[in-house]
């Protein structure tokens, strides 16, 4: 009972902390975007003054900056992200609504794959510490971390799409075939990282006293590993996963460009370069909420995995 109320307090505190963080985020990004030289309508082509005036009036860019800021905050309060400057036929909300499910699918699948593969490989390596299997797996993982996506992706495309023709070279139509390459490419470095993390913490746990006790009691090795060692060994992996998941499901610019996937990631870059103020703000706020919520979910999982945290809550 006390445990539950402690959890509840923890939850509530985390939830309330969301607002000042977001407010700060929005304010900083808003002014940073405006400070950047140039505006959304600047281009190498001359814009006659009367046309520029019309555009500025339409998007309220002719108002003082503070007034624009409060106007924007007022809009955000009613969840209106405004129209995009660059993609004129769509509102920012529509653009995010169209692209996020795609990024979410790719990111979530990649995370799932990375988690399953990574922990399996990590445990396998930890159990055969300093054996050939261990070296091979960790060497492979190092490769996965250090070879960037944009090298692996084109190689996979050339092999599997252009020459063999098993998979599409890019594009997105919600078919499994169109998901395979981006998901695999996106998950590789994360898999590698998780594998190394798991191995390290597993080895540490396996050397700890309570495992020795479990073994001394004569428990079968499989029970020792799966029931006793795995849970604590997962802690660093879980805390790594929060930001990693937020990063994956909010879309990877690199993966989106190479595989021509209409996900969320590109909006951060193209939005910023085009000075598409509303789109950048929308994407940043969305990402901000996502990362805060995920951190928060991780806190909950952490508490469940680690009794020490729950114990502390009671005091």
């Amino acid at each position: 009972m006390t445990q539950d109320s402690g959890m509840l307090r923890h939850t509530l505190r985390g939830f309330l902390g969301l607002f000042p963080t977001l407010l700060l985020l929005i304010t900083v990004v808003f002014f940073m975007m405006r400070i950047a030289p140039g505006g959304p309508f600047d281009s190498e082509k001359l814009l006659p003054p009367e046309i520029e005036a019309n555009l500025n009036a339409k998007y309220h860019l002719d108002e003082p900056l503070l007034q624009q800021y409060f106007r924007y905050m007022g809009q955000i309060a009613v969840l209106d992200f405004g129209p995009s400057f660059q993609y004129k036929d769509w509102t920012v909300k529509e653009l995010i609504a169209q692209s996020f499910p795609i990024s979410l699918t790719v990111g979530a699948l990649a995370m799932l794959l990375a988690f399953v593969m990574g922990t399996m490989l990590g445990i396998a390596a930890a159990l055969r510490q300093n054996s050939r299997v261990d070296y091979a797996l960790m060497g492979f993982a190092m490769l996965g971390i250090s070879v960037p996506n944009f090298v692996i992706a084109p190689i996979l495309i050339l092999l599997l799409a252009v020459y063999v023709g098993w998979l599409p070279a890019g594009g997105w139509d919600w078919s499994v075939a169109s998901m395979v390459l981006p998901v695999v490419t996106l998950s590789l470095p994360v898999t590698a990282y998780i594998a190394r993390l798991t191995r390290g913490s597993m080895i540490e746990v396996l050397h700890s006293n309570f495992i020795r006790t479990a073994r001394a009691k004569g428990l079968p090795e499989s029970v020792v590993i799966w029931r006793h060692a795995l849970k604590p060994a997962m802690l660093p992996v879980i805390s790594f996963m929060a930001p990693a998941t937020a990063g994956l499901i909010s879309g990877s610019v690199v993966i989106e460009r190479i595989f021509s996937i209409p996900g969320l990631g590109s909006y951060f870059i193209t939005g910023a370069l085009n000075r598409d103020y509303t789109l950048v703000m929308g994407a940043v706020i969305f990402y901000g909420v996502l990362i805060i919520v995920l951190n928060f979910v991780v806190d909950l999982i952490y508490a469940w995995l680690n009794p020490k945290i729950r114990y502390d809550e009671k005091h």
């Binding site: 030289p37 281009s43 082509k45 006659p48 005036a53 660059q86 004129k88 692209s99 190689i155 460009r257």
Partner: protein, 616 residues
């Protein structure tokens, strides 16, 4: 007979066009002469491709560069939008496959003696995609909407030659004062501020397109969405998934629908040119927007039949800030740097895609206009270098006291390579110490405009319309993009004369004179003429290269197989399987491409159909 027609009609139609009074006959020939290069085999008597050689499925997948900003013709800006809008809508004039201005929604027109009143006679058979008649009122409504301050059009400057357009745009006059009148259902009159010889060419720009009044009023800003959009061009909008695909289907109500062969056209946006070229190689695209940089040799070897390179109406050059040391009041020094730039080397070794070395501002290919060539254009590079050294020394610089300045350029692989190459050539020939400054596009543009930091900077221009005026105007005192700070009274008065002159030959002479002044004073360094480069499936026919790079899908069709004559040509090219070994060469390119975002080809996206600008 067909042969004779093919031969005669282009000539006849050119004459007709300059007389500015075309009739419907002209349209038929265009369908013929566009095939004239190699299609004798394919055409039937009536000028259509023989159905037996056509592919069963007439579906074209076109890579369209970036996601289009909008499909509202009056808000549109940028090449990706322009390509699609040309398929969806039809302006008063249109273009033949080779880029000549031909009748569009107007079947013919008259121009008053003073060149200021245009009377257009619309096609009576023209229909909107929902079956409604296309009337003069629709054009009046469209032009007024485009000029209205409330619309906040991005490219309404196309309308500026129209009487009162500037006043309407600035809100000083109500929209009904725009010089556009519907005389009756099928006759439209447009009054201009001054004679504008290139006006007909502006009328195929999307800013002048009509919109379907009832649906526009009904759906408001959402009228350009699939399901809502009613258009008058050869195609209708069927589906639009942002940054994924835009699907068009044949417009059954289009007045020339019988001659439209492609059933569906699917535009795919690609942010990455390597991604698009891989899709092309996997057979998923028949037309790409560009090609990845650095792959010229590889593409030429393995895709020589597909790689299409042709001159573009654009110039790449370096600008001087002539309001600042060291280039202020120093034409000799400016000339010295221009002389020392080995353009053959730059185009052969750096740009590589067949760009033409340039010694002028206005690119070739604009009607009968020929630019004045400076004398040194005919010298050898050794002679130029010698003269450059003489001028450089004359300006007071030497090995001990070298000229130092910054070359500023916006992010882009090609810009970087050009700036590097120029700096090393200047160092090699003159001993100049130039440093490179890379800036993000918007920062770069702002610095150029302020003329405080800039000394030498990357510049370029792609013609809005096939007329030298758009290029020459850049150096007018007070022009918004005169980032050179160049100001010359004689030059300005010549520009005024050009704007008022309506006799083509005299106008050309004035433009020649203006460009001559510019080339003598050199507020810029001409470097090369742009080319367009893309991969096109040999099965896709009916299109032609043109300097405007406008390609209407309605002229295109897909063959069942590659024609015999093409096959034999392809035979000497290595077989494609070999490609596997060489593929890794491509990886590095992709890697580089991902670092910097609006890559070369994406940035061209800012370039527009009628409205072009260049950030390369």
């Amino acid at each position: 007979m067909t042969q004779l027609r093919q031969f005669l009609i282009p000539i006849v139609s050119t004459i007709l066009l300059s007389a500015c009074d075309n009739d419907d006959k002209e349209h038929v020939p265009d369908r013929l002469d566009r095939h004239s290069s190699s299609v004798e085999l394919v055409l039937t008597e009536d000028g259509r491709p023989d159905p037996s050689v056509l592919a069963q499925e007439q579906v074209l997948h076109r890579d369209n560069g970036e996601e289009p900003a909008t499909l509202d013709p009056h808000l549109a800006r940028g090449v990706p939008s322009a390509h699609i809008l040309r398929d969806l809508f039809e302006g008063l004039t249109a273009e033949s496959p080779n880029g000549r201005v031909i009748p569009g929604a107007a079947i013919r027109w008259n121009i008053s003696r003073d060149g200021k009143t245009y009377t257009f006679y619309l096609r009576r058979e023209a229909r909107w995609s929902n079956g409604d008649l296309v009337t003069a009122e629709d054009f009046v409504y469209g032009l007024r909407r485009s000029a209205s301050p409330a619309t906040a059009s991005n490219y309404a400057q196309v309308l500026l030659p129209i009487a009162n357009a500037a006043e309407v745009l600035s809100g000083a006059l109500p929209v009904d004062q725009l010089g556009v009148t519907a005389i009756n259902e099928y006759i439209l009159q447009i009054k201009l501020k001054g004679p504008t010889p290139y006006f007909l060419g502006l009328l195929n720009h999307s800013s002048t397109y009509p919109v379907h009044r009832p649906s526009q009023m009904n759906y408001g800003s959402a009228f350009s969405r699939p399901g809502n959009l009613v258009s008058n061009g050869a195609y209708v909008l069927k589906d639009w998934v942002v940054r994924s695909r835009i699907e068009l289907t044949r417009n059954e109500n289009y007045w020339d629908a019988d001659n439209v062969i492609l059933e569906r056209v699917i535009y795919h946006p690609f942010e990455d040119q390597s991604a698009a070229s891989k899709q092309f190689r996997a057979g998923k695209l028949q037309w790409t927007y560009g090609v990845p940089n650095n792959q010229f040799k590889w593409l030429q070897k393995h895709y020589s039949d597909e790689l299409v390179i042709s001159p573009w109406l654009g110039s790449y050059f370096f600008g001087y800030n002539v309001t600042r040391e060291p280039f202020i009041e120093n034409p000799n020094l400016r000339l010295a740097l221009a002389l020392a730039l080995d353009r053959d080397l730059l185009t052969e070794k750096v740009t590589q895609f067949g760009e033409q070395p340039s010694y002028t501002l206005v690119p070739p290919g604009i009607g009968e206009f020929v630019s004045p060539l400076p004398e040194w254009a005919s010298w050898s590079q050794a002679e130029r270098n010698e003269e450059a050294r003489r001028l450089y020394a004359g300006a007071g610089y030497s090995e001990d006291k070298p000229l130092r300045f910054e070359i500023r350029y916006n992010t882009g692989e090609n810009n970087k390579k050009m700036a590097l190459a120029a700096a090393s050539l200047w160092k090699q020939v003159l001993g100049v110490q130039a440093t490179l400054v890379n800036e993000e596009l918007k920062v770069f543009l702002q610095n150029r405009e302020q003329k405080v930091l800039t000394q030498v900077f990357r510049a370029g221009w792609i013609g809005d319309y096939a007329d030298p005026y758009g290029f020459l105007e850049l150096f007018r005192t007070g022009h918004g993009r005169n980032d050179y700070g160049y100001s010359n009274e004689l030059y300005d008065s010549l520009l005024e004369e050009i704007a008022a002159e309506r006799i083509p030959a005299r106008r050309r002479r004035l433009m020649f004179e203006a460009e001559r002044i510019l080339l003598a004073e050199l507020p810029f360094i001409p470097v090369y003429t742009y080319v367009t480069k893309r991969l096109v499936s040999p099965r896709l026919r009916g299109w032609e290269s043109n300097v405007m790079d406008h390609h209407y899908s309605k002229y295109m069709f897909l063959l069942k197989t590659v024609l015999e004559e093409q096959k034999s040509a392809a035979a000497d090219m290595g077989d494609t399987v070999e490609a596997v070994e060489e593929a890794p060469a491509e990886e590095t390119v992709t890697a580089e491409k991902n670092g910097e975002t609006p890559e070369e080809n994406e940035v061209v996206a800012e370039v527009d159909g009628g409205t072009r600008e260049q950030h390369k």
